[in-house]
Every structure is written in C-alpha cells, then in structure tokens.
C-alpha cells in the first residue's frame, strides 16, 4: 500500500475512498454510487477479491463500495460512477461532486489529484415528477 504519513497521522487510500463515497452521497442530485464487480467481490470477502486481482495490482488502490481511490506521491486520485436525479443537471452535479471531494481530500493534507466522474444513470427520484 502506498499510504502517506502526514503530521503523525496515516492517510490511507481506504480512508480516501470512504471520504469520497460519503461526500458523493451527500451531494444534492446524487441518487447513488453504482456498484462495480470488484466492489461487489470486495464485500464478499478478501479471498474473492484476491482471485480477481492480477499480480502487481497491489498499487495502493482501494475500493469502497466500488469507488477506487489511489494515493501516489502525496496526491489522491478517485474515480466515481454515479446515478443522478433527473431533476438536476447531471453535468453540474458531477462538477459539485468533484469540487466537494477535492475540498475534503485537501483537508486530509493530501493534494487532490484527478477526480474522474462517470454519470452512469439519470433517473427520476422516487417522489419526483417526470421531466
């Protein structure tokens, strides 16, 4: 793992993934994070995940609910697959998510790197009116 020590504390890629997950889910207009196969296997157990990993993939990447986060040279990078509420403009939601995740990463003392966002679904919220 490429965990980074900072002022006596240890910031792990697991923490960054968790932080990004929580920040994303708290952003207005985000309905959910989309699950990934690797995230699903991670929930099943470490053995299942190990079977999927290729040798050499132990590069400090961690996935929390399918969110991969990587720390390298003091810079944290995250990829997020999100579903957005149809009542919001998806591009604006993605931009807000990126800004908030970057802010929260900077609070850990790490440098926020690229925060890539993929909008996988746009759906009506359960109680929202259609278009």
């Amino acid at each position: 793992m490429s965990d980074q020590s900072f002022k006596g504390s240890l910031i792990t890629s697991r923490l960054i993934a968790s932080l990004a997950t929580r920040t994303t889910l708290e952003t207005p207009g985000v309905l959910r994070l989309e699950p990934t196969i690797q995230g699903f296997l991670a929930r099943l157990g470490p053995a299942a995940l190990q079977n999927l990993r290729k040798p050499g993939s132990q590069d400090g990447t961690y996935r929390q609910n399918g969110v991969p986060a990587t720390i390298s040279d003091g810079t944290a990078r995250v990829h997020l697959d999100i579903a957005t509420d149809i009542a919001y403009t998806a591009l604006d939601v993605a931009e807000t998510v990126r800004r908030r995740v970057r802010e929260n990463i900077s609070h850990t003392g790490l440098t926020p790197g690229t925060i890539d966002v993929t909008i996988v679904a746009i759906e009506p919220h359960r109680r929202a009116t259609m278009l």
């Binding site: 699950p35 993605a94 966002v117 278009l131």
Partner: protein, 202 residues
C-alpha cells in the same frame, strides 16, 4: 482444438458425441459396437455421479448464498449494462466527466414517454465531438479545462398511435428531447432523427 485432437474410440466415434447423446437411446451403431457400449456405460456412471454431486450441492447449507446476494449480483449486472460505452463531456486538469450512452438513451425514452401517442423503441446515439480548449470553464474550477462539447446525433425509432397527427406529434417529441438534454444533462441535443416505424391501436 484441431480436429485430430478430438478423443475418438477405436471405431472412429468421438467421445464428445457419445456424451452429448448419453440421455438418448443408443443408435444402431452403438447397439452393436462393443467400444461404444463400454464408453456409454462408463459415461452413464460419470453422468450419474455428476447428477448426485449437483443434487448434494443444491442442498448443502454451507453452499447457500447469504441473503441479498442475488440482488447484489443483479445490481452489479444492471450497472455493468448501464456503463456500456461513455461519452466524454468535460476534461480538465482536475478530472474528467463522462456519461454513459445508456444514461442518455434512458433519458430520451423518459422524454418520449411524456408525449401521448408515442411508444419509443430503439434508440441509437452517435457522437461527433470537437475538443475546444479553454471554453465553457465552469465557475469555481481552476486549471486548463477542455470541454469536449459532444455533438449528439440522436436516432430514435418509435411506434405511433393510430389517429394522431404524426408530423405535429413528432415535432413535439423532438422539442421534448431537445429540452430534456440541456436541462437534465447540461449538453445540447444536436440532431434528433425520429423514425415512425409502426402504428399501434389505441
């Protein structure tokens, strides 16, 4: 596997062929061929052992999946379908924003569902993207922003209700899609081609 690698009996019949027909009565050749009869007997034993093992696994509590596992698998499967291919909407130093074609297709179908007398069928989206460095930088962002500004070509096939005025209804549908894409995604619709390929009874 090359043809000569297929395991064959001395009579020339392949083991695979005998295995594939093991549940059926023996053929005329197999009734008289000693090698085929021996192979069938052995394969039937193997088949029975396989069946028993399968039955045993079905009722083994240690192999029962945890509650909710099926739903979790289906969630992942649906998400993988939704991922499909993606369109780059925005690229900058601080990250990229992409959208899946499936998300756009779903949005267009939702828009079509709001027009009475229209049932959407297939939807195909083509992209002509032209990167324009430094344009449309959203407020609050820093660094170099490249907005991919994809030009969408939406091709939608629909069925129309009998009795509706098709040109007027399709214009309303085109307008609905043209409004939905900027409002819900933040990009312009570009070209919207609609093909009425069928009529349905109301």
């Amino acid at each position: 596997m090359a043809l000569e690698d297929i395991p064959r009996l001395g009579c020339g019949r392949s083991i695979d062929r005998i295995w594939a027909t093991i549940d059926r009565p023996p053929t005329a050749h197999e009734e008289h061929c000693e090698q085929c009869q021996t192979a069938r007997t052995r394969l039937q034993r193997l088949g029975e052992a396989t069946r028993l093992l399968r039955q045993s696994d079905l009722h083994d509590p240690a192999l029962k999946p945890r509650p909710g596992i099926k739903n979790a698998i289906m969630d992942v499967a649906r998400a993988e379908v939704r991922r499909g291919s993606s369109i780059l909407l925005r690229s900058a130093d601080n990250g990229t924003t992409e959208i899946s074609e499936q998300a756009l297709s779903s949005l267009i179908r939702i828009a079509a569902a709001a027009i009475p007398g229209v049932h959407s069928r297939r939807c195909r989206i083509e992209i002509r993207s032209a990167s324009l460095p430094g344009e449309d930088r959203p407020s609050g962002t820093t660094g170099t922003t490249t907005t991919a500004r994809p030009r969408l070509i939406v091709n939608l096939w629909v069925a129309a209700a009998q009795g509706i005025i098709i040109p007027r209804t399709m214009e309303a549908l085109r307008q609905k899609i043209s409004n939905a894409l900027p409002a819900c995604v933040g990009i312009s619709a570009g070209t919207v081609n609609i093909t009425v390929e069928d009529l349905y009874d109301v």
